[in-house]
Amino acid sequence: MGTYAKRDVLLRVDGVGLSYGEACILRDIHFSIRDVVRPGLQQGQVLSLVGRSGIGKTQLFRLLSGLQSPDTGTIAIRERVPVEKGDGSIEMYRERKVQAGDMGVIFQNYYQFGWRTVRQSLLLAARRNKALAGKEEDAIRQYTQRFDIADVLHRYPGQLSGGQQQRVSIIQQLLKGSDFLLLDEPFSGLDVCVLDKVVELLLQVSLSDELKTLIVVSHDIATAVAISDTVLVLGREAGREGSTIVSEIDLMERGLAWQQEVRQEKAFMETVQEIKECL
Protein backbone atom coordinates (compact mmCIF):
# COMPACT_ATOMS: atom_id res chain seq x y z
CA MET A 1 0.00 0.00 0.00
CA GLY A 2 2.95 2.33 0.62
CA THR A 3 3.37 5.26 2.99
CA TYR A 4 0.85 8.03 3.36
CA ALA A 5 0.24 11.03 5.56
CA LYS A 6 -2.85 13.02 6.46
CA ARG A 7 -2.35 16.75 6.16
CA ASP A 8 -4.73 19.74 6.13
CA VAL A 9 -8.46 19.54 6.77
CA LEU A 10 -10.33 19.91 3.47
CA LEU A 11 -13.86 19.61 4.82
CA ARG A 12 -15.11 19.97 8.35
CA VAL A 13 -18.59 18.98 9.54
CA ASP A 14 -19.22 20.24 13.04
CA GLY A 15 -22.30 19.47 15.16
CA VAL A 16 -24.67 19.30 12.20
CA GLY A 17 -28.32 18.59 12.90
CA LEU A 18 -31.52 18.69 10.89
CA SER A 19 -35.15 18.46 11.95
CA TYR A 20 -38.48 18.61 10.16
CA GLY A 21 -40.95 20.04 12.65
CA GLU A 22 -40.77 17.84 15.71
CA ALA A 23 -38.98 15.02 13.91
CA CYS A 24 -35.22 14.95 14.35
CA ILE A 25 -33.58 13.56 11.19
CA LEU A 26 -29.88 14.13 11.85
CA ARG A 27 -28.06 15.11 15.03
CA ASP A 28 -24.51 15.74 16.21
CA ILE A 29 -22.80 14.93 12.93
CA HIS A 30 -19.07 15.46 13.31
CA PHE A 31 -16.37 14.43 10.88
CA SER A 32 -13.61 15.88 8.78
CA ILE A 33 -11.79 14.97 5.62
CA ARG A 34 -8.04 15.51 5.49
CA ASP A 35 -5.74 15.75 2.51
CA VAL A 36 -4.15 12.32 2.10
CA VAL A 37 -0.65 12.59 0.74
CA ARG A 38 1.17 9.67 -0.91
CA PRO A 39 4.70 10.24 -2.16
CA GLY A 40 4.96 10.30 -5.94
CA LEU A 41 1.20 10.20 -6.47
CA GLN A 42 -1.64 12.66 -6.97
CA GLN A 43 -3.85 10.94 -4.44
CA GLY A 44 -7.31 12.36 -3.89
CA GLN A 45 -9.65 11.39 -1.08
CA VAL A 46 -12.62 9.03 -1.26
CA LEU A 47 -15.02 8.96 1.66
CA SER A 48 -18.09 6.78 1.70
CA LEU A 49 -21.15 7.44 3.75
CA VAL A 50 -23.13 4.26 4.22
CA GLY A 51 -26.34 3.52 6.04
CA ARG A 52 -29.68 1.80 5.76
CA SER A 53 -32.44 3.14 3.52
CA GLY A 54 -34.35 5.98 5.15
CA ILE A 55 -31.61 6.71 7.68
CA GLY A 56 -31.01 10.25 6.37
CA LYS A 57 -28.17 9.74 3.88
CA THR A 58 -29.82 11.85 1.21
CA GLN A 59 -30.55 14.61 3.75
CA LEU A 60 -26.89 14.66 4.75
CA PHE A 61 -25.97 14.63 1.03
CA ARG A 62 -28.12 17.75 0.49
CA LEU A 63 -26.55 19.49 3.48
CA LEU A 64 -23.03 18.68 2.27
CA SER A 65 -23.87 19.95 -1.22
CA GLY A 66 -25.10 23.26 0.18
CA LEU A 67 -28.53 22.79 -1.39
CA GLN A 68 -30.01 22.87 2.10
CA SER A 69 -28.80 24.47 5.32
CA PRO A 70 -28.52 22.53 8.58
CA ASP A 71 -30.60 23.65 11.56
CA THR A 72 -27.54 23.40 13.80
CA GLY A 73 -23.81 23.19 13.25
CA THR A 74 -21.64 24.12 10.29
CA ILE A 75 -20.14 22.54 7.22
CA ALA A 76 -16.96 24.26 6.10
CA ILE A 77 -14.62 23.65 3.21
CA ARG A 78 -11.07 24.74 2.53
CA GLU A 79 -10.98 27.12 -0.37
CA ARG A 80 -8.06 27.95 -2.63
CA VAL A 81 -7.44 31.69 -2.77
CA PRO A 82 -4.93 33.00 -5.29
CA VAL A 83 -2.69 35.64 -3.73
CA GLU A 84 -0.42 37.90 -5.77
CA LYS A 85 3.20 38.11 -4.64
CA GLY A 86 6.06 40.13 -6.11
CA ASP A 87 7.66 37.19 -7.91
CA GLY A 88 4.44 35.58 -9.15
CA SER A 89 1.16 34.27 -7.76
CA ILE A 90 0.85 31.65 -5.05
CA GLU A 91 -2.15 29.89 -3.58
CA MET A 92 -3.41 30.46 -0.06
CA TYR A 93 -6.18 28.59 1.67
CA ARG A 94 -9.03 29.68 3.89
CA GLU A 95 -11.96 27.89 5.49
CA ARG A 96 -15.50 29.00 4.79
CA LYS A 97 -19.07 27.73 5.04
CA VAL A 98 -20.17 25.51 2.17
CA GLN A 99 -22.58 27.02 -0.36
CA ALA A 100 -24.58 25.56 -3.24
CA GLY A 101 -22.22 25.40 -6.20
CA ASP A 102 -19.10 24.73 -4.13
CA MET A 103 -19.34 21.01 -4.69
CA GLY A 104 -19.81 19.01 -7.82
CA VAL A 105 -23.03 17.10 -7.28
CA ILE A 106 -24.03 13.95 -9.12
CA PHE A 107 -27.62 13.07 -8.41
CA GLN A 108 -28.81 9.50 -8.18
CA ASN A 109 -30.58 9.63 -11.54
CA TYR A 110 -27.72 11.59 -13.20
CA TYR A 111 -30.12 14.43 -13.95
CA GLN A 112 -29.19 16.64 -16.92
CA PHE A 113 -31.01 19.45 -18.72
CA GLY A 114 -33.19 17.61 -21.22
CA TRP A 115 -33.04 20.51 -23.70
CA ARG A 116 -29.25 20.67 -23.94
CA THR A 117 -27.06 18.35 -25.97
CA VAL A 118 -24.16 16.72 -24.14
CA ARG A 119 -21.76 19.26 -25.65
CA GLN A 120 -23.94 22.21 -24.61
CA SER A 121 -24.32 20.85 -21.06
CA LEU A 122 -20.61 20.35 -20.70
CA LEU A 123 -19.91 23.79 -22.13
CA LEU A 124 -22.26 25.37 -19.56
CA ALA A 125 -20.16 23.79 -16.80
CA ALA A 126 -16.78 24.49 -18.41
CA ARG A 127 -17.63 28.19 -18.76
CA ARG A 128 -18.02 28.42 -14.97
CA ASN A 129 -14.42 27.29 -14.54
CA LYS A 130 -12.07 30.26 -14.78
CA ALA A 131 -9.07 27.95 -15.12
CA LEU A 132 -10.48 26.73 -18.44
CA ALA A 133 -11.15 30.17 -19.95
CA GLY A 134 -10.62 29.96 -23.70
CA LYS A 135 -9.86 26.23 -23.53
CA GLU A 136 -13.36 24.93 -22.81
CA GLU A 137 -13.74 22.98 -26.06
CA ASP A 138 -10.32 21.34 -25.64
CA ALA A 139 -11.16 20.30 -22.09
CA ILE A 140 -14.49 18.83 -23.22
CA ARG A 141 -12.75 16.90 -25.98
CA GLN A 142 -10.14 15.51 -23.58
CA TYR A 143 -12.63 14.47 -20.91
CA THR A 144 -15.12 12.91 -23.32
CA GLN A 145 -12.34 10.92 -25.02
CA ARG A 146 -10.98 9.80 -21.67
CA PHE A 147 -14.42 8.70 -20.49
CA ASP A 148 -15.32 7.18 -23.85
CA ILE A 149 -18.33 9.34 -24.74
CA ALA A 150 -16.83 11.51 -27.48
CA ASP A 151 -19.30 10.06 -29.99
CA VAL A 152 -22.42 11.24 -28.11
CA LEU A 153 -21.56 14.93 -27.85
CA HIS A 154 -24.45 15.96 -30.09
CA ARG A 155 -27.07 13.78 -28.43
CA TYR A 156 -29.68 14.86 -25.88
CA PRO A 157 -29.83 13.18 -22.43
CA GLY A 158 -32.96 11.28 -23.46
CA GLN A 159 -30.92 9.56 -26.19
CA LEU A 160 -28.21 8.29 -23.82
CA SER A 161 -27.88 5.04 -21.89
CA GLY A 162 -27.75 5.14 -18.08
CA GLY A 163 -23.98 4.64 -18.10
CA GLN A 164 -23.46 7.44 -20.62
CA GLN A 165 -25.68 9.77 -18.58
CA GLN A 166 -23.63 9.01 -15.49
CA ARG A 167 -20.37 9.79 -17.28
CA VAL A 168 -21.81 13.04 -18.65
CA SER A 169 -22.86 14.06 -15.12
CA ILE A 170 -19.42 13.30 -13.73
CA ILE A 171 -17.59 15.11 -16.55
CA GLN A 172 -19.91 18.09 -16.19
CA GLN A 173 -19.08 18.43 -12.52
CA LEU A 174 -15.38 17.84 -13.15
CA LEU A 175 -15.35 20.55 -15.81
CA LYS A 176 -16.89 22.93 -13.32
CA GLY A 177 -13.61 22.62 -11.49
CA SER A 178 -14.75 21.90 -7.95
CA ASP A 179 -12.36 19.95 -5.74
CA PHE A 180 -15.28 18.13 -4.16
CA LEU A 181 -17.49 15.64 -5.91
CA LEU A 182 -20.59 14.37 -4.14
CA LEU A 183 -22.24 11.25 -5.54
CA ASP A 184 -25.65 10.00 -4.43
CA GLU A 185 -26.01 6.22 -4.77
CA PRO A 186 -23.73 5.91 -7.82
CA PHE A 187 -23.87 2.09 -7.71
CA SER A 188 -27.60 1.57 -7.41
CA GLY A 189 -29.30 -0.36 -10.18
CA LEU A 190 -26.08 -1.12 -12.08
CA ASP A 191 -25.23 -4.56 -13.42
CA VAL A 192 -21.88 -6.14 -12.49
CA CYS A 193 -20.04 -5.08 -15.68
CA VAL A 194 -21.18 -1.46 -15.48
CA LEU A 195 -20.50 -1.39 -11.73
CA ASP A 196 -16.84 -2.29 -12.35
CA LYS A 197 -16.57 0.50 -14.92
CA VAL A 198 -18.08 3.02 -12.52
CA VAL A 199 -15.69 1.99 -9.75
CA GLU A 200 -12.77 2.33 -12.17
CA LEU A 201 -14.08 5.71 -13.28
CA LEU A 202 -14.33 7.04 -9.72
CA LEU A 203 -10.85 5.81 -8.86
CA GLN A 204 -9.58 7.51 -12.02
CA VAL A 205 -11.24 10.76 -10.88
CA SER A 206 -9.78 10.47 -7.39
CA LEU A 207 -6.30 10.21 -8.89
CA SER A 208 -6.75 13.25 -11.15
CA ASP A 209 -5.79 15.84 -8.52
CA GLU A 210 -4.24 15.87 -5.07
CA LEU A 211 -7.18 17.83 -3.63
CA LYS A 212 -9.93 15.99 -5.51
CA THR A 213 -12.28 14.66 -2.84
CA LEU A 214 -15.09 12.23 -3.56
CA ILE A 215 -17.92 11.77 -1.09
CA VAL A 216 -19.98 8.74 -2.02
CA VAL A 217 -23.37 8.21 -0.42
CA SER A 218 -24.39 4.59 -0.78
CA HIS A 219 -26.10 1.62 0.78
CA ASP A 220 -23.84 -0.78 -1.17
CA ILE A 221 -21.38 -1.46 1.64
CA ALA A 222 -18.96 -3.77 -0.19
CA THR A 223 -18.46 -1.44 -3.17
CA ALA A 224 -18.19 1.59 -0.91
CA VAL A 225 -15.45 -0.11 1.13
CA ALA A 226 -13.67 -1.25 -2.05
CA ILE A 227 -13.22 2.26 -3.42
CA SER A 228 -12.79 4.37 -0.29
CA ASP A 229 -10.06 5.36 2.08
CA THR A 230 -12.57 6.17 4.83
CA VAL A 231 -16.08 4.91 5.57
CA LEU A 232 -18.59 6.67 7.75
CA VAL A 233 -21.56 4.71 9.00
CA LEU A 234 -24.74 6.66 9.52
CA GLY A 235 -27.07 4.99 12.01
CA ARG A 236 -29.22 5.41 15.09
CA GLU A 237 -28.17 5.04 18.68
CA ALA A 238 -30.48 3.17 21.02
CA GLY A 239 -32.95 5.41 22.81
CA ARG A 240 -32.03 8.54 20.85
CA GLU A 241 -33.91 10.19 18.05
CA GLY A 242 -32.20 11.14 14.79
CA SER A 243 -29.28 9.61 12.92
CA THR A 244 -25.65 10.31 13.55
CA ILE A 245 -22.24 8.91 12.60
CA VAL A 246 -22.04 5.69 14.61
CA SER A 247 -18.70 4.55 13.25
CA GLU A 248 -15.75 5.98 11.32
CA ILE A 249 -13.51 3.38 9.72
CA ASP A 250 -10.07 4.36 8.46
CA LEU A 251 -9.36 1.89 5.64
CA MET A 252 -5.84 3.24 5.16
CA GLU A 253 -4.97 2.21 8.70
CA ARG A 254 -6.30 -1.26 7.99
CA GLY A 255 -4.33 -1.53 4.77
CA LEU A 256 -7.51 -1.76 2.67
CA ALA A 257 -7.32 1.49 0.72
CA TRP A 258 -6.13 1.84 -2.90
CA GLN A 259 -5.98 -1.88 -3.64
CA GLN A 260 -7.40 -3.36 -6.83
CA GLU A 261 -8.01 -6.86 -5.45
CA VAL A 262 -9.14 -5.75 -2.02
CA ARG A 263 -12.35 -7.78 -2.17
CA GLN A 264 -10.33 -11.00 -1.91
CA GLU A 265 -8.82 -10.05 1.41
CA LYS A 266 -10.06 -11.42 4.72
CA ALA A 267 -9.78 -8.00 6.39
CA PHE A 268 -12.09 -6.58 3.72
CA MET A 269 -14.81 -9.12 4.47
CA GLU A 270 -14.40 -8.56 8.19
CA THR A 271 -14.75 -4.82 7.69
CA VAL A 272 -17.90 -5.24 5.60
CA GLN A 273 -19.31 -7.47 8.34
CA GLU A 274 -18.35 -4.93 11.00
CA ILE A 275 -20.20 -2.20 9.12
CA LYS A 276 -23.27 -4.38 8.69
CA GLU A 277 -23.36 -4.91 12.42
CA CYS A 278 -23.28 -1.15 12.98
CA LEU A 279 -26.38 -0.56 10.88
Binding site: G101, V105, Y111, F113, W115, Q173
Partner: protein, 251 residues
Amino acid sequence: MFKPFEKINRQTFLILVGSQAAVALLMWQLTGGGLIPQPSRVLEALAQLSATRLFADNLLTSLLLTGQALFYSVVITLLFGYVSVIPFFQPVAQFIVKCRYLTLTGLIFIFTLLTRDGGQLKLSLLLFGIVPFLTTSFLSIIVHTPEQEFELCQTLGFNRWESLYEVIVVGKADQVFEVVRQNFAIAWMMITMVEGLNMSEGGIGTLMIKYNKYNDLPHVLALQLVILGLGLGFDQLLGVLRRWLFPYTKH
Protein backbone atom coordinates in the same frame (compact mmCIF):
# COMPACT_ATOMS: atom_id res chain seq x y z
CA MET B 1 -59.05 -3.43 -30.72
CA PHE B 2 -61.97 -3.70 -28.33
CA LYS B 3 -59.93 -4.34 -25.16
CA PRO B 4 -59.16 -1.47 -22.77
CA PHE B 5 -55.62 -0.03 -23.12
CA GLU B 6 -54.93 -2.18 -26.20
CA LYS B 7 -52.14 -0.63 -28.26
CA ILE B 8 -52.76 -0.27 -31.99
CA ASN B 9 -50.33 0.86 -34.66
CA ARG B 10 -50.69 4.13 -36.56
CA GLN B 11 -51.90 2.46 -39.75
CA THR B 12 -54.72 0.67 -37.93
CA PHE B 13 -55.65 3.93 -36.23
CA LEU B 14 -55.82 5.76 -39.57
CA ILE B 15 -57.99 2.99 -41.03
CA LEU B 16 -60.31 3.32 -38.01
CA VAL B 17 -60.53 7.10 -38.41
CA GLY B 18 -61.20 6.85 -42.16
CA SER B 19 -63.83 4.14 -41.88
CA GLN B 20 -65.68 5.82 -38.99
CA ALA B 21 -65.67 9.16 -40.82
CA ALA B 22 -67.00 7.43 -43.96
CA VAL B 23 -69.81 5.78 -41.96
CA ALA B 24 -70.71 9.12 -40.33
CA LEU B 25 -70.81 10.88 -43.71
CA LEU B 26 -72.89 8.09 -45.21
CA MET B 27 -75.40 8.29 -42.36
CA TRP B 28 -75.54 12.06 -42.73
CA GLN B 29 -76.12 11.71 -46.47
CA LEU B 30 -78.87 9.13 -45.98
CA THR B 31 -80.68 10.81 -43.10
CA GLY B 32 -80.14 14.41 -44.21
CA GLY B 33 -82.43 16.48 -46.38
CA GLY B 34 -85.02 19.10 -45.54
CA LEU B 35 -83.55 21.92 -43.48
CA ILE B 36 -80.27 20.15 -42.78
CA PRO B 37 -78.24 20.00 -45.99
CA GLN B 38 -76.66 16.74 -47.06
CA PRO B 39 -72.83 16.46 -47.35
CA SER B 40 -73.04 16.63 -51.14
CA ARG B 41 -74.74 20.03 -50.94
CA VAL B 42 -72.21 21.27 -48.40
CA LEU B 43 -69.38 20.18 -50.70
CA GLU B 44 -71.04 21.96 -53.62
CA ALA B 45 -71.28 25.14 -51.53
CA LEU B 46 -67.64 24.75 -50.55
CA ALA B 47 -66.58 24.42 -54.17
CA GLN B 48 -68.61 27.48 -55.10
CA LEU B 49 -67.19 29.50 -52.19
CA SER B 50 -63.62 28.50 -52.97
CA ALA B 51 -63.93 29.95 -56.45
CA THR B 52 -64.88 33.43 -55.20
CA ARG B 53 -62.55 36.32 -54.44
CA LEU B 54 -64.81 37.31 -51.54
CA PHE B 55 -64.06 34.06 -49.71
CA ALA B 56 -60.28 34.36 -50.19
CA ASP B 57 -60.26 37.99 -49.00
CA ASN B 58 -62.33 37.24 -45.91
CA LEU B 59 -60.29 34.19 -45.06
CA LEU B 60 -57.07 36.19 -45.33
CA THR B 61 -58.52 38.90 -43.07
CA SER B 62 -59.35 36.29 -40.41
CA LEU B 63 -55.99 34.58 -40.67
CA LEU B 64 -54.11 37.87 -40.33
CA LEU B 65 -56.16 38.91 -37.33
CA THR B 66 -55.69 35.50 -35.66
CA GLY B 67 -51.95 35.57 -36.31
CA GLN B 68 -51.67 39.08 -34.94
CA ALA B 69 -53.71 38.21 -31.83
CA LEU B 70 -51.73 35.05 -31.23
CA PHE B 71 -48.41 36.88 -31.57
CA TYR B 72 -49.35 39.59 -29.06
CA SER B 73 -50.91 37.00 -26.74
CA VAL B 74 -47.72 34.94 -26.68
CA VAL B 75 -45.60 38.04 -26.00
CA ILE B 76 -47.88 39.13 -23.12
CA THR B 77 -48.09 35.60 -21.72
CA LEU B 78 -44.33 35.06 -21.81
CA LEU B 79 -43.74 38.42 -20.16
CA PHE B 80 -46.14 37.77 -17.29
CA GLY B 81 -45.12 34.09 -17.09
CA TYR B 82 -41.44 34.88 -16.73
CA VAL B 83 -41.95 37.63 -14.17
CA SER B 84 -44.40 35.47 -12.19
CA VAL B 85 -41.40 33.76 -10.55
CA ILE B 86 -40.61 37.11 -8.94
CA PRO B 87 -42.94 37.35 -5.91
CA PHE B 88 -43.73 41.03 -6.56
CA PHE B 89 -45.40 40.17 -9.87
CA GLN B 90 -47.26 37.06 -8.73
CA PRO B 91 -50.54 38.88 -7.89
CA VAL B 92 -50.73 40.34 -11.41
CA ALA B 93 -50.05 36.95 -13.01
CA GLN B 94 -52.67 35.31 -10.79
CA PHE B 95 -55.19 38.05 -11.67
CA ILE B 96 -54.69 37.33 -15.38
CA VAL B 97 -55.29 33.63 -14.71
CA LYS B 98 -58.55 34.40 -12.89
CA CYS B 99 -59.71 36.60 -15.76
CA ARG B 100 -60.61 33.45 -17.69
CA TYR B 101 -63.82 33.31 -15.65
CA LEU B 102 -64.96 36.68 -17.02
CA THR B 103 -67.22 36.71 -20.07
CA LEU B 104 -66.44 38.85 -23.08
CA THR B 105 -70.05 39.85 -23.61
CA GLY B 106 -70.08 42.00 -20.50
CA LEU B 107 -66.88 43.77 -21.48
CA ILE B 108 -67.58 44.64 -25.11
CA PHE B 109 -68.83 48.13 -24.29
CA ILE B 110 -65.80 48.89 -22.13
CA PHE B 111 -63.46 47.69 -24.86
CA THR B 112 -65.38 49.79 -27.40
CA LEU B 113 -64.72 52.85 -25.26
CA LEU B 114 -61.06 52.00 -24.83
CA THR B 115 -60.28 51.31 -28.50
CA ARG B 116 -60.20 53.60 -31.53
CA ASP B 117 -61.62 51.44 -34.31
CA GLY B 118 -63.14 48.06 -35.12
CA GLY B 119 -59.78 46.47 -35.82
CA GLN B 120 -58.42 47.42 -32.40
CA LEU B 121 -61.67 46.31 -30.74
CA LYS B 122 -61.47 42.85 -32.33
CA LEU B 123 -57.79 42.49 -31.49
CA SER B 124 -58.23 43.53 -27.88
CA LEU B 125 -61.22 41.19 -27.43
CA LEU B 126 -59.19 38.33 -28.86
CA LEU B 127 -56.27 39.16 -26.58
CA PHE B 128 -58.57 39.28 -23.59
CA GLY B 129 -59.98 35.92 -24.59
CA ILE B 130 -56.67 34.17 -25.29
CA VAL B 131 -54.15 35.58 -22.77
CA PRO B 132 -55.79 34.21 -19.57
CA PHE B 133 -55.87 30.68 -21.01
CA LEU B 134 -52.33 30.85 -22.33
CA THR B 135 -51.09 32.30 -19.04
CA THR B 136 -52.90 29.59 -17.04
CA SER B 137 -51.23 26.85 -19.07
CA PHE B 138 -47.81 28.49 -18.93
CA LEU B 139 -47.93 29.13 -15.19
CA SER B 140 -48.92 25.51 -14.69
CA ILE B 141 -45.75 24.47 -16.56
CA ILE B 142 -43.63 26.78 -14.41
CA VAL B 143 -45.22 25.55 -11.17
CA HIS B 144 -44.60 21.92 -12.14
CA THR B 145 -40.92 22.47 -12.98
CA PRO B 146 -38.98 19.65 -11.27
CA GLU B 147 -36.96 20.96 -8.33
CA GLN B 148 -33.94 19.07 -9.70
CA GLU B 149 -33.69 21.47 -12.65
CA PHE B 150 -33.08 24.38 -10.26
CA GLU B 151 -30.81 22.26 -8.09
CA LEU B 152 -28.64 21.35 -11.07
CA CYS B 153 -28.34 25.08 -11.79
CA GLN B 154 -27.30 25.67 -8.19
CA THR B 155 -24.68 22.94 -8.27
CA LEU B 156 -23.28 24.50 -11.45
CA GLY B 157 -23.00 27.82 -9.62
CA PHE B 158 -25.75 29.69 -11.50
CA ASN B 159 -27.27 32.70 -9.80
CA ARG B 160 -31.07 33.07 -9.68
CA TRP B 161 -31.34 35.09 -12.90
CA GLU B 162 -29.18 32.57 -14.74
CA SER B 163 -31.34 29.76 -13.34
CA LEU B 164 -34.49 31.56 -14.52
CA TYR B 165 -33.01 31.92 -18.01
CA GLU B 166 -31.80 28.31 -18.21
CA VAL B 167 -34.73 26.48 -16.65
CA ILE B 168 -37.71 28.64 -17.60
CA VAL B 169 -36.78 30.67 -20.69
CA VAL B 170 -34.68 28.07 -22.52
CA GLY B 171 -35.86 24.91 -20.81
CA LYS B 172 -39.56 25.53 -21.22
CA ALA B 173 -39.47 26.93 -24.78
CA ASP B 174 -40.76 23.69 -26.30
CA GLN B 175 -43.61 23.53 -23.83
CA VAL B 176 -44.54 27.14 -24.57
CA PHE B 177 -44.84 26.08 -28.17
CA GLU B 178 -47.12 23.23 -27.17
CA VAL B 179 -49.26 25.57 -25.07
CA VAL B 180 -49.61 27.90 -28.06
CA ARG B 181 -50.54 24.93 -30.21
CA GLN B 182 -53.24 23.82 -27.79
CA ASN B 183 -54.60 27.32 -27.31
CA PHE B 184 -54.58 28.17 -31.00
CA ALA B 185 -57.94 26.43 -31.10
CA ILE B 186 -59.34 29.07 -28.70
CA ALA B 187 -58.09 31.90 -30.89
CA TRP B 188 -59.46 30.28 -34.02
CA MET B 189 -62.81 29.60 -32.35
CA MET B 190 -63.09 33.17 -31.05
CA ILE B 191 -62.29 34.79 -34.36
CA THR B 192 -65.76 34.12 -35.77
CA MET B 193 -67.32 35.55 -32.62
CA VAL B 194 -65.38 38.84 -32.56
CA GLU B 195 -65.79 39.32 -36.31
CA GLY B 196 -69.50 39.22 -35.73
CA LEU B 197 -69.18 42.21 -33.39
CA ASN B 198 -67.56 44.42 -35.99
CA MET B 199 -68.35 43.49 -39.55
CA SER B 200 -66.83 46.47 -41.35
CA GLU B 201 -63.49 44.76 -42.06
CA GLY B 202 -64.99 41.43 -43.08
CA GLY B 203 -63.56 38.05 -42.15
CA ILE B 204 -64.75 34.50 -42.18
CA GLY B 205 -66.96 35.16 -39.12
CA THR B 206 -68.67 38.06 -40.86
CA LEU B 207 -69.25 35.87 -43.89
CA MET B 208 -70.77 33.15 -41.75
CA ILE B 209 -73.12 35.56 -39.99
CA LYS B 210 -74.33 36.84 -43.37
CA TYR B 211 -75.08 33.32 -44.62
CA ASN B 212 -76.72 32.47 -41.30
CA LYS B 213 -78.98 35.49 -41.63
CA TYR B 214 -80.43 34.08 -44.88
CA ASN B 215 -80.56 30.49 -43.54
CA ASP B 216 -78.03 29.44 -46.18
CA LEU B 217 -76.97 26.38 -44.23
CA PRO B 218 -74.90 24.72 -46.99
CA HIS B 219 -72.61 27.77 -47.06
CA VAL B 220 -72.54 28.04 -43.25
CA LEU B 221 -71.51 24.39 -42.95
CA ALA B 222 -69.02 24.80 -45.79
CA LEU B 223 -67.41 27.64 -43.83
CA GLN B 224 -67.40 25.49 -40.69
CA LEU B 225 -65.62 22.83 -42.72
CA VAL B 226 -63.01 25.39 -43.78
CA ILE B 227 -62.54 26.53 -40.17
CA LEU B 228 -62.18 22.93 -38.99
CA GLY B 229 -59.78 22.01 -41.80
CA LEU B 230 -57.60 25.07 -41.25
CA GLY B 231 -57.58 24.50 -37.49
CA LEU B 232 -56.44 20.90 -37.95
CA GLY B 233 -53.89 22.00 -40.54
CA PHE B 234 -52.39 24.61 -38.21
CA ASP B 235 -52.34 22.08 -35.40
CA GLN B 236 -50.31 19.71 -37.57
CA LEU B 237 -48.05 22.51 -38.77
CA LEU B 238 -47.31 23.68 -35.22
CA GLY B 239 -46.62 20.06 -34.22
CA VAL B 240 -44.13 19.65 -37.07
CA LEU B 241 -42.52 23.00 -36.24
CA ARG B 242 -42.18 22.00 -32.59
CA ARG B 243 -40.43 18.75 -33.45
CA TRP B 244 -38.15 20.60 -35.87
CA LEU B 245 -37.27 23.45 -33.51
CA PHE B 246 -37.03 21.28 -30.39
CA PRO B 247 -35.81 17.83 -31.44
CA TYR B 248 -35.52 16.69 -27.81
CA THR B 249 -39.25 17.04 -27.30
CA LYS B 250 -41.07 13.82 -26.43
CA HIS B 251 -44.48 14.36 -28.00
